[in-house]
Amino acid sequence: MSRRLDPTLPARLREMGLMDNSKCFNCGHCTAVCQLTEEGFAYPRQDIRMLQMGLGDALTERVEPWLCYYCGDCTKSCPRDANPAEQMMALRRYLTAAYDWTGLAWKFYTSKAWEIGVLLGLALIVVGLFVVPHLLHPGQIQWEPLDGGVAVSSFAAVSWVHLGDMVMLGLLSFLLLSNIFRMGRRILGAARVPIPITLYLSEAWHLVTHFATQRRFGKCNDKEAYWVVHLMLMSGYAIMFLLVIVFLSSLQTDVGLNWTTLPGYFATFALLYASAYFLRGRWQKSAEVNRYSTFSDWLFPALLFATSLTGILMHIFRYYLTWPAGTYVMYVIHMAIVVPMLMVEVPFSKWSHLAYRPFAIYFANIRSKALQAAQKTQPGSLGVPPAVSNALEV
């Protein structure tokens, strides 16, 4: 099947922040130095070439951009200063937008106004949801401190907050999973052989471990520190997710610390530390990975940092200062940051990468095994080069 070239592709990527795509002359140096490439999964040369040529459609069948962890080794060795690592980053943005059926990811990547507008809009809605009911039914809020706490439930009933959590969880899951479904259809469709259903199950454990550990990262040179921070981030997410979604009634009590406090402290520290680490890196632009940060690269750690900070302040106001008014205000601010952040980042932006990476490995391995199986039953009939049917090293 021949692929049609689309000359507008490079320009569209440039709109998403790609610096320059003309310098690469396809020598392949980058692929040779990349620690993460393996047989059957060679990048970034091929992806850059496809980008130059305008093979946008064929690119959506590739998993390789997700296998790159932006270590910058390739960029350091490129003889043409073509910045391959940055091009891979741009391709990840492109893929995120290509998987997304709502078109919002594209809007967020190409327009600051859109991204900020949606964040502010959502923040206003959140504030409204907290404030308007109290304006309509005044007198419910308890402004006096309790003994060893603040009556948070008088301001935000756990049941309502929990309902809000569930609605958001449903919405985010739906958006993210529908995009992942589209991603899988593209990647697996490229095999052009039937996929045995059992493979989806047998490969699932890779998905879980990669999602939790992002361990391919550890394969990069000198990237251990980076990987540890990522790991912290992931564990912080996971703990906070459990606390907020499953154990909200224990997390949000009106009095005293309880068993959720310690894991909560750990998660908060992890998120604060990780976001500060990324922000500092972006600020100093020391590492290759940070040289070409776009607005959205900044936004995510900044929001995460603000989320953690407001969470901590709220906690201090509530338990250590037992100051109800401060607690309520900080609660609203905290929610007005965290909700828009999650709504924008999880399905459409940076955060979704954390999900796409393990899924890319998952789909790639299903595809490889399906090809291997097909080759066994009809050897030679596929014209598939053996490399393509290699499974990824895990």
């Binding site: 692929r3 049609r4 003309s22 396809n26 070439r49 040529m53 305008g54 093979l55």
Partner: protein
Amino acid sequence: MNPQRIGVYVCWCGSNIAKIVDVEKVARVMARIPGVEVSREYKYMCSDPGQELIMKDIKELGLDRVVVASCSPRMHEPTFRKTLKLAGLNPYMLEMANIREHVSWVHENQELATAKAINLTRAAVHRVMVHAPLVQHEVPVNRATMVLGGGITGMTAALRIAGQGRKVYLVERSDELGGRAIGVGRAGPHMNSVAALLDNLTTRVNDSAYIDVLTGTVVGEVSGFVGNFLVRLANGTRELTVGAIVVATGTQPFDAKKLHRSGYGRFPNVVTSTQFEEMAASGRFTTESGKAPRRVAIIHCVGSRDSETHSYCSRTCCMDALRFSNILRDALPDAAIYQAYSDMRAFGRDAEEFYARTAERDVTFLLFDKLLPPTVSEAPAGDPYPLLVTMDEIATGIAIEVPADLVVLMVAREACSDAKDVAKLVSISVDKDGFFIEKHPKLDPAATTTDGIYIAGSCQGPKDIPDCMSQAGATAARVLAAITMGKVKVPATTATVNEDLCVGCQTCISVCPYGAVIYLDKHRVSRVEEVICKGCGTCAAACPAGTISPRHFTDNQVLQQLEGLLAAEEG
């Protein structure tokens, strides 16, 4: 015919020969052959003392013929002929035996090598016994030159020759000087104006008092030989007498209709590089529908580097394609420009930089394997662009299709369709592609194997303007060197017809590669023009009556040599 007085000189060539061949033994054996007056070996025969040794013997011992057993005659035959001449002997009374290239350099066994050296030297001794003195003639040279072809090369060569005050007839078939460069807008990589260059050349040619410009003129017949050619023009009774001829007839573009896959002649939006130049000159780039093109695909190597058409590279089209991309980018800032290529030939000064700069102007390069060139076809109904270029893009390994509304074919430059006729006219050779062959690709690239006929420019193989200019200059220098002497030596080792025995079958005329045999209608016999004859012997071998004898290679001489070779070992 005896008594003969032969001197034999066996050379050591330092240790080159002596370390494998027992040179003393060779000399000893030769001394015993009747007629050999003296037989010596010496360290370096070609050195001054070596030559003096021979001259001294000739004078003191009254030698009348000499054998030198040493290196290849290609190397030192002229040297020793001169030695003989200085000593008062006819230079053709020399015979050489090659015991270096043919013996010491190719054998390891000393005994066998010595035996072979003895045989070869004995053959030379037997042969020299029947050598006859030959005379080398000199003929006067006409100092005018004809330049055939009025392109950039022809004009440049004419100007250089005229610059030395020599007469030039510049014969151009078409009505205009300039050749293929007419219509080429600018020349890459520096984007110099070709029109200005042509204007400069034509003005100077037309203004030159020494150049006779004959446009619209075709040569009918060329006869004569170096220094004395008679050129009959086809369009009239005019005849030119010249001493040298420069062939600069250039190339013609490949007809892309011959390649179905190119789409040329089938789809109106497929144009050749020449047509593109016309578009560029008019400044209006349009598709068939009159609109400005939005997707342009430039395809390299159409008719070049391809087993179906020409296997050679046309050398200028890669740079032309880059130039076209720049022209297109200037005119159409938003159009997509593709270049389907199979190797980028960016040689020469500033060419690679030109390539890099072009690549930065949003030009997409697509790589194909030259064995699988792109195909141009009609796009399916409903497509926004009328054409599809399909190819296997080998840098990605992906089969692609490029929608296009203008396809530019970089067509090959091939030898003119009448190149063989021109070659025959002046008795030179063409290669398998129809390009004229030079005398030696490195040592003598401007001359041909026919004395007095020179070649220059793209008729020898595709060239860009700087290369055409350089060769035109080299050829002019070669011509000037030949005509300035006022006379040329013609070789003595030519064929002769025994006209008493010739039956007039003219077989010799049909086989002679140099056109050296003429037929005398009146006497109904053939005659060899000695000034043209190269002494190759082809006619002598072909003559059914056995009446042709090449001087210095007579039957008798060859038989004697064989006899010497096969004679019984004399110790």
